[in-house]
């Protein structure tokens, strides 16, 4: 798939990058220290308000995960674990040794897969409402099942603010719809079962060595307090904070607050 024009990302460049034979859509913007942003369920376009803020402090690298946006899906890639290895290759292809890493939701899981494999590849890590740990224990659900919700219910549940009309699939132009359908398919590929997690991740998280901050939206309606607690236990080396007035999509609800916390943490990596 060729990259399409995304008006909300008009403050940077959208290119295709070859990563060992896989064509990956890469958005770059801004100037300053390098920052790798790993997007969540709503793609790089969903993170546009956050990326606009981050570009004021960083040279932002925001790829679309394989299978999302216009990024190809290499044969055999079907686990977030695979994405972890893939992003080592992507950092190598970009010549990025130790960027700051920020990630949202599903992207947080991907960041953890990357940095449990090569802990030295980030100077700091900010996880905004990450997934990846066990999302349920038998009958107790820690993360609501996005695949069983209507689109309207899901859109409302993900955000504290009113979802934008642009995210309504029944009103999207065809090229946008195709991106959204690809993203949904990719989420299903990586996250249908086991639901949005890697059972092996928890026992590997001790390997996360860079300064790390976990952020949750105060009004996150997707994850339960028990899930936040599980992250606190699994990542005792990290700081754990809350962003007020934000749901699961912190980047959509509070882009400025999230960007300034990411920038401050990258500059002085200590929990508040």
């Amino acid at each position: 798939m060729a990259a399409v024009r995304l008006d909300e990302l008009d403050f940077g460049k959208l290119d295709m990058l070859d990563v060992r034979g896989t064509a990956v859509e890469l958005f770059t913007a801004g100037s300053g220290a390098p920052l790798l942003y790993l997007h969540g369920m709503d793609g790089i376009e969903g993170a546009a308000p956050l990326l606009r803020e981050l570009a004021k402090s960083f040279t932002v690298y925001a790829p679309s995960h394989p299978g999302f946006g216009a990024s190809a899906l290499p044969k055999g890639m079907n686990r977030a674990d695979d994405l972890g290895y893939f992003y080592i290759d992507l950092l190598d292809a970009l010549g990025l040794d130790r960027p700051a890493v920020a990630a949202s939701s599903f992207g947080g899981w991907v960041a953890l897969e990357l940095l449990t494999k090569e802990p030295a590849r980030a100077s700091s890590l900010v996880l905004a409402a990450p997934l990846g740990l066990r999302t349920a224990n038998r009958r107790e659900q820690y993360v609501a099942d996005i695949f069983t919700m209507s689109r309207q219910d899901l859109a409302k549940r993900l955000q504290a603010s009113e979802p934008s009309e642009a995210s309504n699939i029944f009103k999207m132009p065809e090229d946008r719809l195709r991106r959204t359908m690809r993203g949904d398919e990719a989420l299903s590929l990586y996250g249908w079962t086991p639901y949005m997690h890697n059972p092996k991740l928890a026992m590997r998280l001790h390997r996360i060595a860079c300064p790390t901050l976990v952020l949750w939206g105060s009004a996150d309606a997707l994850v339960t307090p028990a899930y936040r607690e599980a992250f606190a236990i699994a990542l005792p080396q990290a700081g754990h904070e809350e962003i007020a007035g934000a749901g699961h999509l912190i980047h959509a609800d509070q882009p400025a607050a999230l960007a300034s916390r990411i920038a401050a943490f990258a500059a002085a990596p200590v929990a508040a």
Partner: protein
């Protein structure tokens, strides 16, 4: 044309429960004693089908009040022993929802063996919402389907040493069918299609191709099949390769037939009751199919009446008849309607007849089946061939 009797074996007492009839309907609405009585009743009707000289089709669904058969092969295991002559069609086994295709092959072999070689094995993609129960991966669904298909056929037909299987999706150290099927090389394969494209895939392989409740679309499904079959085999496909599924309500007089059709119509209204998010799990349909479907709108997939309008879910019996989904009337009328539909679709050799559906009760079902078997089936058995030029007019 041969007739195969089929019932979804509904738990119709749950139909008045508000909301979805599938996936989310809690099981406390099921009285298991009543369910058992109904299941036995439906089996009795299948035994009558056998006595009447018709053939039998069984399906399966999961977490649904509309269909209590949760395993084709479990139901057919009973009928394999209790029927004497009917062909026994499983249509079908949702291969890509099964975690263990070798187990599927074993069940097929055992039922074929038990029945004296009367099994017909239908492999289906299955309804999208079944994924919520099987919880199998929605992506790569058809790759998995075809690998399971390949493995099952190799298992059933193996005349040599036991073998091992290391595939993309399935891994077995030893494949060995004890017992193995009676029919050689294997029981006939059926598949289902709702478009000419998917029918072409089956035409290439020469499998029996069935289309369900598709009305006018059946003619393009059959045309696609015939075209691909001819390319593969260098001769026209026999009528026995094609099948159409519809509801049949027959009675001695037209008014009674329509009363029966009204009771059967709850099949349509309840089958449609499923939450929108369960209709299309993320990753199940290809991206381009989703883009096309959203552009076309929700009515695009509804069967059409002769005036081109989609049949409303709660349409009248006349509207369902007009669309070719119900055949209703006296034996003469039902025969005439089917003979006309047969010509319109270019001809097909198998009528998959829902002679019981929805709330049609036992006595009515017995009468319906008996009338069809005695007064319609003999005439359908000797339907005149649809002339070839008419048949190929349907292509396009």
């Amino acid at each position: 044309m041969k007739i195969w009797q089929f019932s979804e074996q509904a738990y119709h007492p749950a139909f008045p429960v508000p909301g979805a009839m599938r996936v989310t309907l809690p099981q406390h609405h099921c009285d298991p004693v009543l369910a058992g009585q109904l299941l036995n009743r439906y089996l009795d009707e299948y035994l009558l089908t056998d006595e009447l000289g018709l053939d039998i089709m069984i399906n399966e669904h999961h977490a649904a009040a509309t269909c209590m058969s949760t395993s084709c092969m479990t139901t057919l295991a009973i009928l394999a022993r209790q029927t004497k002559q009917a062909r026994l069609l499983a249509l079908g086994i949702p291969l890509a929802n099964r975690s263990n295709p070798l187990r599927v092959a074993e069940e097929i072999a055992m039922v074929d063996c038990l029945s004296g070689g009367r099994l017909e094995m239908g492999f289906v993609k299955g309804a999208s919402y079944e994924l919520f129960m099987s919880n199998r991966q929605p992506t790569g669904f058809m790759d998995r389907f075809w690998e399971a298909h390949d493995l099952i056929l190799e298992a059933l037909t193996n005349e040599g040493e036991n073998f091992s299987w290391e595939g993309e999706h399935f891994h077995y150290r030893t494949v060995s069918m004890w017992p193995r099927p009676i029919q050689a090389p294997h029981p006939p394969v059926w598949m289902t299609a709702s478009s000419a494209n998917s029918a072409r895939d089956y035409g290439k392989l020469g499998y029996v191709c069935a289309t369900f409740l598709s009305g006018a679309v059946a003619s393009s499904v059959f045309a696609g099949y015939r075209e691909a079959y001819f390319q593969s085999f260098g001769k026209p496909a026999g009528l026995d390769r094609l099948a159409y599924l519809a509801l049949v309500a027959c009675a001695h007089n037209r008014d009674e037939a329509f009363r029966r059709a009204e009771k059967m119509k709850s099949y349509f209204t309840t089958a449609a009751r499923v939450e929108p998010q369960h209709r299309n799990p993320w990753g199940f349909n290809p991206v381009e199919a989703n883009v096309r479907a959203l552009a076309a709108g929700p009515l695009a997939m509804r069967p059409r009446m002769r005036n081109g309008n989609p049949v409303p879910v709660d349409g009248s019996i006349e509207e369902y008849m007009d669309a070719g989904l119900m055949f209703v009337g006296t034996p003469d009328e039902v025969y005439e309607q089917l003979a006309r539909f047969n010509i319109e679709t270019g001809g097909f050799g198998n009528l998959l007849m829902m002679g019981q559906a929805g709330e049609l009760d036992h006595a009515e079902t017995v009468d319906n089946l008996t009338l069809v078997a005695r007064e319609v089936a003999p005439r359908l058995a000797v339907l005149p061939e649809v002339p070839l030029d008419v048949r190929y007019e349907a292509v396009g």
